[in-house]
């Protein structure tokens, strides 16, 4: 493995957690609160996290992990003292080290717990020799942040980067070749992030408006030019007239009545990005603009 300083690093941020990882570590498996990163040789890093209700015990978590590991790989997990560098990197957390060794691969990891936000994380590195991951793991752990802070949440996965208000929770996601989709919701409001590529192929026989019509359920009405600071964008918006009877009736309707969709083409990246906001209540235009401005393909 190369020295950590000689390789490029990238941000990974998913559902509250964030860290830096070597450029050649790719997302192999993904879940709502789970990430598995792999490189050419196979899995290299696994992270699970979640909120803790009630009392948290590292030993209980270790026993649970040991049972799981025994079932999955037939190996025994043992508590292991952590290297001082790891302890320093995770000094803000209560931590507990563990390791295991299989026939062809071994693992070293840490169970961390943040008492202030009551979030626990399991981070484990897969390796053949612990010395090969030492420095890389140290830098990665030093950059690790869990979903503690009451601030907008960064999402940085594959080639998309977005910042979403903290109140919105991820409800579903799809990463398929050519199409990425992330859906967030909060109190009757829904935001959907889209990313399509390669744009040169999608737009070879139709313009952006026709493309949007075939890919998304659009609000009724004619598209308009949006006024973003970045690339040319097209927008559709549906908002019912503010008559008092309608205002009373809207929250009782099952279907969203406020609907806004913006789509734009990033020529230099060969991507198309889109954001859809729906809800029974009108969506704050400032928040919508902020999400659009911070949504990008890196």
């Amino acid at each position: 493995m190369k020295k950590p300083d000689s390789i490029g690093w990238k941000d990974v941020a998913w559902n509250g957690i964030r860290f830096q990882a070597p450029l050649d570590w790719e997302i192999g498996r993904i879940g709502i609160r789970y990430l598995m990163l792999e490189n050419d040789t196979g899995p290299v890093l696994e992270i699970k996290w979640g909120p803790v209700r009630g009392h948290f015990s590292h030993r209980t978590q270790l026993r649970r992990l040991a049972r799981l590991q025994k079932k999955r790989l037939g190996t025994s997990v043992t508590a292991t003292p952590l290297p001082p560098a790891w302890k320093e990197a995770l000094s803000a957390y209560q931590i507990f080290g563990f390791s295991w060794a299989g026939e062809t691969i071994a693992g070293s990891g840490v169970i961390s717990y943040c008492p202030s936000c009551r979030n626990a994380s399991l981070i484990q590195f897969y390796h053949k020799d612990f010395r090969t991951v030492g420095k890389t793991a140290q830098r990665l752990l030093a950059s690790f942040r869990d979903p503690c802070r009451n601030e907008p949440v960064l999402w940085c996965i594959f080639d998309i980067r977005a910042v979403i208000p903290e109140k919105f929770r991820l409800v579903s996601y799809r990463f398929e070749p050519g199409k990425f989709e992330l859906i967030f919701s909060a109190k009757g409001q829904k935001i959907t992030l889209y990313r399509w590529g390669p744009a040169s192929v999608f737009l070879s026989r139709r313009d952006l408006i026709r493309f949007a019509e075939t890919m998304v359920r659009l609000p009724p009405g004619e598209p308009q030019d949006a006024i973003p600071t970045g690339p040319k964008a097209i927008e559709w918006e549906e908002s019912p007239s503010p008559a008092s009877l309608r205002r009373w009736w809207n929250p009782m309707k099952a279907k969203s009545v406020f609907h806004r969709f913006r789509i734009w083409h990033l020529e230099e990246k060969n991507r198309i990005l889109g954001i859809q906001a729906e809800g029974k209540k009108p969506f704050d235009p400032c928040i919508f603009e902020k999400i659009c401005a911070e949504y990008e393909s890196v």
Partner: protein, 127 residues
């Protein structure tokens, strides 16, 4: 214990080894380039032996020169053109990602899925 279970010897190769394989086109596949730039592939199809046997018993004539056609879209055409018998799957993935400025993993998933589909139809083999 299942005495009748057929034990096939599994030859599993790693992801790295699989990506180092070179896809080679089946020489019985005819390709026609359409006006749109896309490619139309025609390949002979043979009936499964038990279907052919059943058809023979029932007196149904068997067309031995049955051709099946497959039209590739522009992305499929690009990958098909990149298969020159020299480039490995890994090199095709890289070239495909560069051509369309795709994220490497996205390119890998789409190219390997496409190669697998072509392999299932017998249009390519891996060397």
């Amino acid at each position: 214990m299942n005495l009748f279970k057929i034990h096939r010897k599994e030859t599993r190769i790693s992801r790295t080894e699989a990506l180092q394989c070179t896809p080679v086109k089946n020489m019985h596949v005819a390709e026609e380039r359409l006006e749109t730039g896309e490619i139309l592939l025609s390949y002979p199809v043979t009936s499964r032996p038990w279907i052919a046997g059943l058809a023979k018993r029932l007196g149904i004539p068997q067309d031995s020169s049955r051709l099946k056609k497959l039209q590739l879209d522009i992305l499929g055409t690009t990958v098909w053109d990149m298969m020159d018998g020299r480039r490995t799957a890994s090199q095709i993935i890289q070239a495909f990602a560069e051509k369309y400025r795709l994220y490497p993993k996205e390119s890998e998933v789409s190219v390997t899925r496409f190669l697998r589909e072509l392999g299932k139809r017998g249009l390519i083999g891996l060397r």
